[in-house]
């Protein structure tokens, strides 16, 4: 495995780790279940801190996904190299990013989203996250690859 590929993997997994952790921290569960009591993890119960970390991780993830996508295109690698599993993960990531961006827009001042739209966004964002986590776990266990 070359260095670029390894770096890409590290960036992806580290970003995924922090975006998931800070994402779950949007729910008031870490204090309730003593996780925020673990030394060094107190920030997980500070909602404004986790909110900012989630945004920063989202910025890194979006930049990374766009970089990988265009790098793939510029290198002239054909889309037929992408496996079915790869397409599935791309679709889940796209869903996660689109719902996430819409939620960021919703959080801007003077922006009003309908109540149902907000609930649908919240639940679909969480669902995409859960699916991505299970699919990622499956891909690690079964050694499934993005490209053939």
């Amino acid at each position: 495995m070359n260095t670029t590929k390894k770096t890409r993997q590290y960036v992806y997994w580290i970003t995924l780790f922090f975006i998931t952790l800070s994402g779950f921290a949007q729910m008031p569960i870490f204090k309730r279940y003593y996780i925020a009591d673990i030394p060094g993890l107190g920030w997980l119960a500070q909602f404004y801190v986790t909110h900012i970390i989630h945004y920063i991780a989202a910025i890194v993830l979006i930049a990374f996904v766009i970089y990988v996508f265009f790098d793939f295109i510029f290198r002239g690698a054909g889309l037929n190299r992408v496996t079915g599993f790869g397409f599935f993960k791309i679709a889940i990531l796209a869903g996660l990013i689109v719902t996430g961006v819409l939620m960021v827009v919703k959080n801007l001042p003077n922006i009003y989203f309908g109540h149902t739209a907000v609930i649908v966004l919240d639940l679909s964002h969480l669902s995409f996250c859960m699916i991505l986590l299970f699919v990622s776990l499956y891909s690690v266990i079964r050694k499934k690859r993005w490209v053939g």
Binding site: R32, I59, Y112
Partner: protein, 321 residues
């Protein structure tokens, strides 16, 4: 409680006649203004110098919103782990000197010196209805919502009582009642802890073109409601007239509750009793500002990703030559 009621009865008797005339014309003006908002958020102006602390607004709020109050099922389900606090106000519904799930508006008392004279001031306190409310924007389930007319409220059918809204609120406004709400139908032992309650600015009355109950009941016309720009104009004119001070215009990036006082709010804040259910009058920075700034940075993210990919492609094609 008894003394408060008798004082209330006394005040009510002495001011009802005069107050009703003044209030009716004020309400008529307010009702007219809320039906001509053109979707601009509505704000309320509270002239503290007029408030006599009669608590008419408090009792009107309780009466108008009584059917929204929680009726918890008892005994409460055992919650895990043990640190999860049971918060039960159902046996203390008469408490009116702080915010509770059964009291969404209370009167705060302050003493201050104006022109060398010691005066007592009373301040109606409730949700500030922020322009960009963290309670709404950070609610993980969308159970807190903001309406286009600027009010924010918590949907009791969806709230799980995690109290994140209270921790996110710079004034700690929402209050929790255990043993009621959606969590009972999910995993009552392991997730959720009731429902959060706060002032919803009488959204159902506003929908019918009526003003909030606290405004209607006030015999002194302390509160005015209208489009935010108009309310701000009035607040500044009033502040100039009384050589006074404004609170709520810039707090937390701007709220839809604007107080005008003849005394600096720093002084009032030193004088009022603050603590659980009793919000402060401190200056408040815009809690959502960092998120808003990062949202702007997010626009750059795809451009950065594209530039990096193009840079790599450019360098590799140069090397190939």
């Amino acid at each position: 409680m008894t003394s408060k009621l008798s004082r209330r009865a006394f005040l009510k008797g002495s001011i009802t006649a005069a107050g009703s005339v003044v209030a009716t014309s004020g309400i008529a003006r307010a009702a007219k203004s809320i039906t001509h908002t053109n979707k601009e958020p509505l704000a309320t102006l509270l002239d503290i110098s007029k408030c006599i602390g009669c608590e008419e607004c408090v009792f009107a709020c309780r009466e108008a919103n009584a059917d929204k109050y929680p009726e918890p099922a008892k005994p409460f389900p055992k919650m895990y782990p043990n640190r999860v606090p049971v918060q039960d106000w159902s046996d203390k519904r008469d408490v009116i000197d702080r915010l509770t799930p059964y009291n969404w508006l209370f009167i705060q008392h302050a003493s201050a010196t104006v022109n060398g004279e010691q005066i007592d001031l009373t301040i109606p306190r409730r949700c500030m209805h922020c322009e960009n409310p963290p309670c709404v924007k950070l609610c993980p389930w969308g159970s807190a919502k903001q309406e286009e007319n600027g009010l924010s409220r918590i949907d009791p059918d969806l709230c799980l009582g995690g109290s994140k809204c209270k921790k996110a609120c710079p004034w700690d406004i929402p209050e929790r009642q255990t043993g009621v709400g959606l969590y009972l139908d999910l995993l009552p032992g392991l997730a959720g802890n009731g429902t959060m309650y706060k002032c919803d600015r009488c959204y159902n009355r506003l929908e019918k073109g009526e003003v909030p109950a606290c405004i209607e009941a006030c015999p002194e016309d302390v509160q005015t409601i209208g489009p935010r720009s108009e309310i701000l104009k009035k607040a500044h004119a009033l502040a100039r007239q009384m050589n006074g001070y404004i609170y709520g215009e810039h707090e937390n990036g701007g709220t839809n509750t604007i107080y005008v006082s003849p005394v600096p709010f720093e002084e009032l804040n030193k004088s009022i009793e603050t603590g659980k259910g009793k919000p402060h009058l401190n200056k408040v920075k815009n809690m959502m500002a960092d998120g808003t700034n990062l949202a702007k940075a997010m626009i750059v993210a795809p451009i950065a990703g594209l530039a990096a990919a193009f840079g790599k492609f450019y360098l590799s094609s140069k090397e190939d030559k």
